[in-house]
Amino acid sequence: MPLFRSPSKEPLWKEEFSVFTSDERYVTRRQFTKFLTLASLGMFVGNLWILVKSRFVKAPQFSAMEIAEVGEIPIRGVKLFTYPTPQDHCIMVRTSEDEYVAYSQKCTHLSCAVYYSAKNDRLECPCHQGFFSIKDGSVLQGPPPRPLPQITLEREGTKLFATGVKGT
C-alpha cells in the first residue's frame, strides 16, 4: 500500500470539483485536513522562530545613565525616572540603607503604571490589582502574566546609574 498518493489520470480540476455528491464530501474533508496541517506547520514555525530568536538575537545593550544621588530618597522612598528612552518610565525604590531596586513602571498585563505600596512593601497595579514583589519584580497576585522588567543599577561613588534592562 503506497504511502503517497500516486498521480491520478484525472485532471486536478476534475478531482477537486467532482460532479458526484459522494465525492464532494471527500474533497471538502481533504481540503480541511490540508488547512489544519498548514496551521500546524504555522505553529511549528512559530516555535522555531522563538528558538532562533532566543539563540541568535542578542539582548539590546543600553548605555549607562545617571538617575539619582545616593541618599537622595529616604528608605522606602520612590523616585521615578525614564530609561533607556524617554518613553520608558521606571520606578526606583530604596528598600534599605544601601539597597536600591528599579523596575519598569509598565504593568505586564495592560501597561498601567505600577506604584510602590510602602504599607505592603510591594509594587501594585491599580487597574486590575496586579501585585509584584519588590525583591525581584515577580508576580505575587493578579492577572499580569510576566514579572516586571528589572533595571540593573550600579553605584559609582555617590551616584546611582541605570545600566541595563533585564527581562524585556
Binding site: R29, T37, L41, G46, N47
Partner: protein, 80 residues
C-alpha cells in the same frame, strides 16, 4: 456491488472524520504550546524553548502523517 461501494465509502468517511478530530486536538495542543513558550520566553526563561520546538515538531509530524492517511483513505475509497 453498489451497497459494498457505499459501505466502503462510509467507512472511509468515518476514518477521515476520526483523523480530522485527532488533528484538531493536536492543533489545540500546539496552539497552547506556542503561547506558553512565548510567555516563558518573554519572561526571560529560555530553558523551555528547545523542548517546546522539538515537541511542536513532533506534533506537526503527527498532523502530516494524518494528512497522508486522509489522502490515502480518500484515494482508496473513491478510486479503487
Amino acid at each position: 456491488m453498489a451497497n459494498t461501494e457505499s459501505h466502503k465509502q462510509k467507512r472511509g468517511l468515518v476514518a477521515i472524520d476520526g483523523a480530522i478530530a485527532l488533528i484538531v486536538i493536536l492543533l489545540v495542543v500546539q496552539i497552547w504550546l506556542l503561547s506558553a513558550t512565548l510567555e516563558t520566553y518573554l519572561a526571560g526563561h529560555t530553558s523551555t524553548v528547545v523542548p517546546a520546538a522539538i515537541f511542536s515538531g513532533l506534533l506537526f509530524s503527527a498532523c502530516l502523517a494524518l494528512n497522508l492517511f486522509v489522502d490515502r483513505v480518500d484515494k482508496e475509497s473513491r478510486h479503487n
